[in-house]
Point group: D2
Chain length 324, copies 4
């Protein structure tokens, strides 16, 4: 354990002891710092690695997930992408334009229709973040550098096409239920304690390689009040992020934009994104629909997500499922 | 059995008896006709149905597929979407434009990249066809009419968002292996006999609800000789299509553009598309990469595909897998 | 003069006599009807004609306009297209997405940037309507039919590439000034009387081939209150449209969305569009910035507009000027 | 005259004396170098200037051009943008996708069509380059820096919206005619001597503020052999570029991709782009159709071009004209 990690471990211990009252304090704001390149690279999966926690997608892991499929019940977790901005949340500054390529009918003949779509396909709706999405300075996961991997038509490394299907044990941590609410407040910082208490209540434990699904209830606003959904959200703070890293998940997912709390602690900008995607090679999955999973108390399941193979892209819209 | 179906049954019998020599004959060209609306509607799943064979996606069906996952071995069947037309096959008249939304690096700060993509997202690369893709005259699956369901930004009915994940038993029918070749010839018409003999050789049977995966070897051209890949292809003919319909699959998939043979029989235009998507509500999945599945002699597996939930779209690019 | 035209002439006479009080009355609502195909086709410019009033763009007409350039003062009449929806009015259901294709700087080397833009380029911002934009039933200007000229990638006839530069005498009719206001009210119906009185006040007459520019003041809302700008607008009513047709302009332009009043008379939908573009082959030019022209009392000028040569498109964003 | 300029002047003198034999020599390859920032900035139009030679677009300049309009004859110089890549030249790596937003006809009702277009609108077809198009290292015209002006949705400075209509005296220099050919060879380097001799033959002189139009004949390949058109082209070399700079044109235009010769001198990359757009603030206009201008021996005319007001864009597709 190097000095940096020891400091984090001590800090996490302190944070756990002090509990949720810590959630927005100067101490926390300084709780996490991006280590310099030479402390975080090469990745534990090797200097050339582009898959990070995706390396845990082994055959055994698939079997571990398969054993959780007992009734065949499927939960669709993806949100619909609609051209109507009232129906579908589109982040400010992004677009989703769909135009039908309509054929004119010809009697007794087969004709076909298509549609052309323009969108930030990797970063829209229910979507997985690939490592090309985030840089610290000019440095990505595993210290790939922007000038070496960026092109005007995608990235030469770390693109979403490297991920492949992720199928793993999924564990839902229902923090809203722990707090006895349908929906946490916007800006609420989920703490390590919140996660641990919710898991205890659910009699669940996170295992390495799991896909952690955090229910905040915020996703109930999707398609109902998109402006409110976008403005802020409850989500994990830096400390909860740090604790999750120690649990070695393959991916962290949530029913909000960004998994982590918004607004970020003053002086920081989506630090959990940096911690997960750049420092630790752990994927994020955003804007899930978890209502049915939550009301069904489905805490453990096979989680399956198939990112599109968009060469060099920073992410992919997806339609993941939980099956139990 | 109405008159129309009896004629087909007799014709199929004849075709089976006569075998492969029949493959391009005037008789075959007249083998299939789209029945009038009142003979094909309402669909057997009800007058309001929009899911067709997707209705077979029950919990039991999921369990049936799950039981085939024994080693956890995953076969990725989706092709990569690259901006380089040499790497990725893009149908003539379609486009795939990806532009990196690059951030300029700021020292010691997190910044993010995205990309904007313009494409016929439902009809590009490895893709599933939804029922909105095809009309006969102005009439779709279950006799929905163009003027009632078409808009300039998608279809009100039969869009790909109605499909959801399809997870079912998959059966690969390796016609190339049956014929002792790596790759069937462009224009080769796969017959009912070919399918049945290949299944026999593999000791497989199609069960209702299966996803039928036909290996022609043509997909080996993907990214190697895209112009040749596009120009023609081997694939099922009308008779093989008719026989498959009697087997009640959920979907028919192949490693070519269009599942069915190209060029179509003179005087017809992709008749199997019409037969499957309009008349019978059976999905098609195109442009698969089946090389590894074929060399692994993986004939039976769990097949999983997650179409994007693009409201009103005619299909979706996908990244399906087979797991055994 | 056929019966239809005689009726119009009589009706216009009545309208002129009765004056502005007529502006919203049942009589007016019934004032204009689209004549059947055989009464409006072939166009007076011939059965194959695709240019309508653009045929008046002769060398003599260019010289007529050139003679009005006396000081070299240029008025830029086009609005800026910005990605910020507060700055630029984008009609509901349309999009304007611009993404910089940024190059990463290389010391002491030349590199270049571009941008990719997705938009309804023919129908966005300051824009000219081509005849392919409008149909009555399935019938366009000069009775071209949709099934004959529509494709999924543009129109075979009547596309904006047929127009070419329009350079003609421009006449501004300042109705806002006539009424002594900066800006007419939303929904205000400009009458034939309004136009004639304003022209009289300005000591101007419309000549055949002119580009008529109507100042309503509504354009002052552009970039200041786009939602209000979009919701309604002052503009010419059916009667004023009819009177303008008798003046034989090449184009009618205004500082509002649609040239004509919105909302349309109940039971009708943008009738002046139909009257001008379908029936009479007269171009429309929308969303102009006329502030400086109005405050400069520039009533007569050379008007120049260069539509892009987008094959088969329904219009073009443009950056027209007035020069005097 | 600073040292740098004196060197150029001497060098140009030498080049003129030595004549065309100089055209591809090591000396020439080293003939032009981008001066360091402090030698080329601030621009002669001031440290905040964004318009460069566009500042010569004065009322007097408009009148100077207007006086050349004698017959009203219009030459359309823009190429059509077609979705068919055989008809329209689209640079490799760029796209032009047009999709009709077709309405379904409703009897006796007005309906409308639009189209959505995705393209590098500033850098496609006949197009004008704005200063945001080119950087040397991270430095633009007038030493604006990339990190200060680039955004993911356009540039804060130097965008094409700053140009406005350019109307000026146009002078065609017909180098193909000088050489007695329809079309110069691909790769032919036009020299200062070529330009001067052609002007002499035409009895023309360049005046400050002119728009210089160079006819190479290469544009005859547009829509006939686009691959050949793209691969190389005749065009001005560094020396001719340098000489043109001394003539103080507002813009340099040509019937090829890039105005300048391709391939560039080994070791350089489009140096005339850097010289004109970055160092000297002179606009470039590419891919013109000059056939009719050339066969009409129209050497002097009013040149008018209206770039779209695309905020922050690097250029604009345009439809310019010459009028005499």
């Amino acid at each position: 354990m190097n000095l940096h990690n020891r400091q984090i471990a001590i800090w996490i211990l302190a944070a756990s002891t002090l509990g949720t009252v810590l959630s927005i304090t100067p101490t926390q704001a300084q709780g996490w710092k991006m280590p310099p390149d030479n402390e975080r690279c090469p990745s534990k999966w090797g200097a050339a690695d582009q898959r990070g926690a995706g390396n845990m997608m082994t055959a055994n892991n698939v079997l571990r997930a398969t054993r959780l499929i007992r009734t065949g019940e499927v939960f669709e977790l993806g949100d619909i992408l609609s051209p109507d901005p009232k129906e579908t949340f589109i982040n400010r500054g992004r677009t989703y334009a769909i135009t039908t390529k309509l054929s004119i009918a010809i009697p007794n003949k087969r004709v076909e229709n298509e549609e052309i779509i323009t969108t930030e396909l990797g970063q829209i709706g229910t979507q997985i973040d690939a490592f090309a999405h985030q840089m610290w300075g000019d440095s990505f996961y595993n210290c790939f550098k922007q000038k070496d991997i960026a092109t005007r038509t995608g990235f030469k490394k770390l693109g979403v096409e490297n991920i492949g299907m992720l199928m793993s044990r999924g564990v839902m941590i229902d923090v809203a239920a722990l707090k006895g609410v349908d929906r946490l407040e916007g800006g609420y910082v989920i703490t390590p304690d919140d996660l641990q208490q919710a898991l205890e209540k659910e009699r669940m434990k996170i295992e390495p390689g799991d896909i952690v699904v955090i229910n905040t209830g915020w996703g109930q606003l999707l398609g109902k009040d998109n402006p409110k959904y976008e403005k802020t959200s409850p989500g994990i703070g830096e400390a909860a992020g740090q604790w999750l890293v120690t649990q070695q998940p393959m991916m962290v997912a949530a029913d909000n934009c960004c998994v982590e709390v918004r607004p970020s602690v003053p002086g920081t900008s989506l630090p959990v994104h940096a911690m997960m995607l750049i420092q630790n090679g752990i994927y994020l999955l955003e804007n899930l629909r978890l209502e049915k999973l939550a009301t069904s108390h489905a805490y453990e399941f096979a989680f399956i997500v198939q990112p599109l193979k968009l060469k060099g892209a920073t992410g992919s819209n997806v339609a993941p499922v939980a099956i139990r």
